[in-house]
């Protein structure tokens, strides 16, 4: 049988074992209001860093048969402000700036002159719902070539007619499924879905896929990340 000891000795053994658990108390830092925000920022930062590591350039998002595509009228319209920012479609141009050899204004016809790619991919909203849509457009990587973008620059940023803004890491911008999308379900984008041009990125969460694009910039630095990101959502949110 076990060693015989007195009660005092047992108490001191027990106390020592209890004190070993003090590291658990460190988690209490999350309950301190001043520390909570920075700690959660670090946590989200670690998740974004891991997301970046997990992203594989050549790995394609699953694609679906036409029969699996959600009907067009069941494809949700999501925006932060207005369904239709009243873009002048006749005179619309995409402004290109930043680390590009041929900056300036590009017409939709110029973008449509690039090889067209159509794909049935899953669109996932940060809220939790998902739909499979049919999208058509030019590969962003082709457009970046067209404008002579420096692919060494780490970011592509966009601005929208409704004052929404977004940013993409260059690896995702160059991904073969990342589209400058001008068609959904074989028809030109409707105003609610971002006419005339939106981003469609099957490897990213929905809020990254900005609509009503007006400006595209190739950047070496970000002074802001994105409309939702700057309010506390994940910067990278790769799927």
């Amino acid at each position: 049988m076990g060693l015989r000891i007195n009660q005092g000795k047992f108490k001191s053994i027990s106390r020592r074992e209890l004190l070993k658990l003090t590291p658990v108390v460190a988690l209490g830092a999350f309950a301190i209001p001043e520390l909570q925000k920075p700690l959660l920022k670090v946590g989200l930062g670690i998740s974004d860093w891991a997301s970046g590591l997990l992203f594989r350039r050549g790995h394609l998002a699953p694609t679906f048969a036409d029969a699996q595509v959600t009907p067009f009228d069941k494809f949700p319209i999501n925006d932060y402000d207005v369904d239709d920012p009243e873009v002048d479609l006749e005179n619309w141009k995409l402004t290109v700036a930043g680390a590009a050899q041929i900056p300036g204004e590009y017409t939709l016809a110029q973008i449509q002159s690039l090889p067209k790619q159509t794909q049935n991919t899953r669109h996932i909203c940060v809220e939790g719902w998902d739909v499979v849509g049919n999208f058509g457009g030019a590969r962003l990587s082709d457009f970046l070539k067209m404008i002579g973008a420096s692919t060494l620059a780490p970011y592509v940023t966009v601005e929208c007619a409704d004052a929404y803004y977004e940013s993409l890491d260059m690896a995702t911008a160059l991904h073969p499924q990342t589209l400058l999308c001008y068609e959904m379900y074989g028809k030109p984008l409707t105003r609610e879905h971002g006419a005339p041009l939106r981003l469609q990125i099957p490897t990213k969460i929905g809020y990254k896929q900005a609509k009503y694009l007006t400006k595209l910039e190739v950047n070496s630095e970000l002074y802001r990340v994105g409309y939702w990101e700057d309010q506390g959502y994940s910067d990278f949110y790769g799927l």
Binding site: N6, L44, V126, L239
Partner: protein, 231 residues
């Protein structure tokens, strides 16, 4: 099993009480870290669920249930995601350390449900739920307890795998595919949470029923007056 036993002698009465070292330090540490992270993950998970409280289509949206604000954590979807994406690392880390320790130390034998435990399950169920006689305790955990703990660990692993499928349905597309796609992975993740909550409920009831010495042992490792004869 390296179970350590002591006899504690009361200086005044000379009475001798047995004590056994039941929970190694790493197990206790992981238990509490895991308990806190699970609490945070469930709270923030339910807040995330509030953003789309359904497992059907978005159009038309049929809501399943709306969680009262009092039972959720994070304040809003973005805040809840911050909590969820932070504590998932702590949860995963505590799980990995726990499983790694149990396997390398051999302590897993104390908790792992094996086929030989099967005949002992029904007598325990009969005792707990149908007023049957109490089967004699032979080791730290009875067969039903082992079953519960082993199931909880399996559910823990599944909670991480389904979570990964939701967080990275493209990079881990094979994982999402195994679960029936992103849509179903989300449902599995939710159901597994309820499985874990059912375990926690039963666990807490048992903690209350088994008294103070048992409760203290999860802090100090030492259980006074164990029901079984330590080796």
């Amino acid at each position: 099993m390296a179970s350590r036993a002591l006899e504690i002698e009361d200086a005044k009465t000379g009475e001798v009480t047995e004590a056994v070292y039941e929970h190694p330090f790493v197990v206790r540490l992981c238990h509490w870290v895991n308990a806190i992270s699970l609490f945070v993950l469930v709270g923030s998970g339910l807040q995330i669920f509030r953003a789309f409280p359904s497992f059907g289509a978005k159009i038309p949206q049929k809501d399943l249930i709306h969680w009262p604000k009092a039972f959720v954590l994070g304040g809003w979807l973005g805040g809840a995601l911050q909590w969820h994406l932070t504590f998932m690392w702590i949860y995963i880390a505590s799980g990995l350390v726990y499983v790694g320790y149990q396997l390398s130390s051999g302590n897993y034998k104390q908790v792992l449900f094996v086929p030989r435990d099967l005949p002992g399950v029904w007598p325990m169920v009969r005792h707990y739920f149908f007023f049957g006689p109490k089967p004699p305790a032979k080791e730290a955990y009875n067969p039903l307890q082992k079953h519960a703990y082993t199931s909880a660990i399996v559910l823990g692993v599944l909670s991480v795998l389904t979570g990964l499928a939701i967080w990275k349905p493209v990079q881990f597309s094979w994982l999402a595919w195994l679960m029936g796609g992103f849509h179903y992975a989300r449902l599995w993740h939710f159901l597994i949470m309820w499985g874990l909550l059912a375990f926690v409920f039963g666990h807490l009831v048992m903690v209350v029923l088994h008294g103070w010495n048992n409760f203290v042992s999860m802090f100090t490792g030492w259980k006074k007056d164990p029901e079984y004869r330590p080796e």
